[in-house]
């Protein structure tokens, strides 16, 4: 299959007080169309940095990053979901979700229709007049997902999206992401600290080393998206193997 995302010898340096911090070094990665991938690695290894490059927010990198043959800035079909701060507290659910379409300059009737559709799909229509502060953590992340999906992105980037949720809500959200992925066939890249989540949602799993981050292991994961896999021995074996990988990195 043709790769949607290609990263070749990516390096990102930060400068702070005239000191250079290399956050990412020699990162190589390929992701075919419609794959879901998870990315795990120790704290501070540059995972968020990688996503900000892919989302076109950090343009100070060297190396090659291509999304469908375009640079992240040109492409503009990428959505990014963060752990917090995803939603604007001063906008209602409705206004949060429609904002992207509005900025894109889409006609009012069309964006209202699309907003309503996605809110209904995610079971959020009744909450549309609420402010983020009036929602539970899970509801908030669902709104964040709605806000991203309404833009019909080709690549969905998620940075520890569910880490502040309780275990049950978290599983619900994982199921939701899975369902959406199966329906839309987006390409997904998910950062997580939760190894089980990485195994459940990632057809490919990338393991990164400590700072400066680079990819030290890449594996195919046939168990991804299998609801029944959560209980299987294979699932736990893979998780254990990843865990030991992370320890050594």
């Amino acid at each position: 299959m043709e790769a949607y995302l290609t990263i070749k010898s990516l390096q990102v340096d930060y400068y702070q007080d005239n000191r250079q911090i290399t956050a990412l070094k020699d990162v190589n990665l390929k992701l075919p169309y419609g794959t879901s991938a998870s990315l795990i690695g120790p704290s501070g290894c540059g995972k968020s940095t990688l996503l900000s490059v892919l989302a076109g927010l950090n343009q100070k990198y060297t190396g090659e990053v291509l999304l469908n043959g375009q640079s992240p800035q040109e492409n503009g079909k990428t959505a990014l979901i963060l752990q917090d701060y995803g939603l604007f507290p001063w906008k209602t659910v409705w206004d949060n979700v429609k904002l992207g379409l509005q900025i894109k300059g889409i006609a009012r009737r069309e964006y209202e229709q699309k907003t309503e559709e996605i809110l209904r799909k995610l079971g959020l229509l009744d909450l549309r007049k609420r402010f983020p502060a009036q929602l539970s953590g899970g509801q908030r992340q669902r709104v964040a997902i709605a806000r991203s999906l309404v833009l019909e992105p080709e690549l969905l980037l998620m940075d520890e999206p569910f880490s502040s949720l309780d275990a049950l809500t978290r599983e619900e959200m994982q199921d939701l992401v899975l369902r959406l992925w199966q329906e839309t066939k987006l390409t997904i890249l998910l950062i997580t600290h939760n190894i089980e989540e990485a195994v459940f949602l990632g057809q490919r799993i990338f393991v990164m080393s400590a700072c400066p981050g680079t990819i030290i292991r890449e594996l195919e994961n046939p168990l991804a998206g299998d609801y029944s896999a959560r209980g299987k021995a294979d699932f736990w074996e893979l998780a254990a193997s990843l865990r030991s990988n992370l320890r050594r990195s």
């Binding site: 900000s52 990014l80 963060l82 701060y85 604007f88 894109k104 402010f131 983020p132």
Partner: protein, 254 residues
């Protein structure tokens, strides 16, 4: 819903009434203790307020209200965009910070004579002075609020390819609005104080003039009627700002 609002309103007006009773009670007590014509009991002041409100006070109050409101509006229109701009742009902020901090503490009222010479004794000099004082308060508060905005919010709209204008409109302005309204409330207090001061110089209009004029003619009941009227004007303006906050910043305490 409606009954809840009604309940809230009645409980609020109850509080206002209690506050008034307390204020006038203390005043009455003080007047009884001091027994001086310089502090007439509230009853007399209120009676005088009723008698001369339409004939004398309304005109002066209107002029004062005009001066304060116009000043606040101009100060807001100038300070809010500039404050948001400085809070957003680090370089501009760093260049302007010394200038702001050097000129902020200078008591602007000392420029009144200069303004009177340059701009005449009409409304312009007064409005310019009040505007100048309030401008700084709003500017500094707005700038600090914009500076402290979590940059994730900005990244989040930037990733939607928002223009500069859209970043201001959807992020900086609404995020800083609660701080802006707070600074306006503080600014209103300052504006009223400065108003009183400028109205005691070279003018024969305005509630400040009316109060000082009554004082110099020893009409203490009139003087206190003027003070009550000025207090009421401030109160109504505060209520207006509170209303704005309730409508536009519902998200803060939903």
């Amino acid at each position: 819903m409606f009954s809840m609002i009604l309940k809230k309103l009645t409980s609020q007006s109850l509080k206002t009434i209690l506050t008034l009773v307390f204020l006038f009670g203390s005043w009455q007590l003080l007047a009884l203790i001091l027994q001086t014509p310089a502090l007439p009991p509230p009853g007399e002041a209120l009676k005088s307020l009723g008698a001369i409100f339409v004939s004398e006070i309304v005109g002066h109050l209107g002029v004062s209200l005009y001066r304060v409101v116009v000043s606040l509006i101009i100060a807001t229109l100038l300070a809010v965009p500039l404050g948001l701009y400085l809070g957003k742009n680090k370089a501009a902020d760093q260049i302007s910070a010394p200038l702001i901090y050097l000129t902020y503490p200078v008591p602007k009222v000392v420029f009144l004579p200069i303004f009177l010479i340059l701009l005449g004794i009409g409304n312009v000099s007064k409005i310019v002075l009040i505007t100048l004082v309030v401008f700084y308060q709003i500017l500094v508060t707005t700038r600090d609020a914009a500076r402290n905005l979590a940059k994730e919010y900005v990244l989040s709209v930037k990733s939607l390819k928002a223009s500069e204008w859209e970043i201001y409109r959807h992020v900086y302005f609404p995020a800083c609005l609660p701080a802006i309204l707070t600074s306006l409330r503080l600014g209103l207090g300052t504006a009223l104080a400065v108003l009183f001061l400028v109205e005691t110089y070279a003018t024969r209009e305005g509630i400040g003039f009316f109060i000082m004029d009554s004082w110099s003619s020893l009409a203490y009941d009139k003087m206190f009627a003027g003070i009550i009227a000025m207090g009421l004007m401030g109160f109504v303006l505060y209520l207006l700002l509170d209303g704005c906050e309730k409508i536009f910043c519902r998200w803060v305490n939903p």
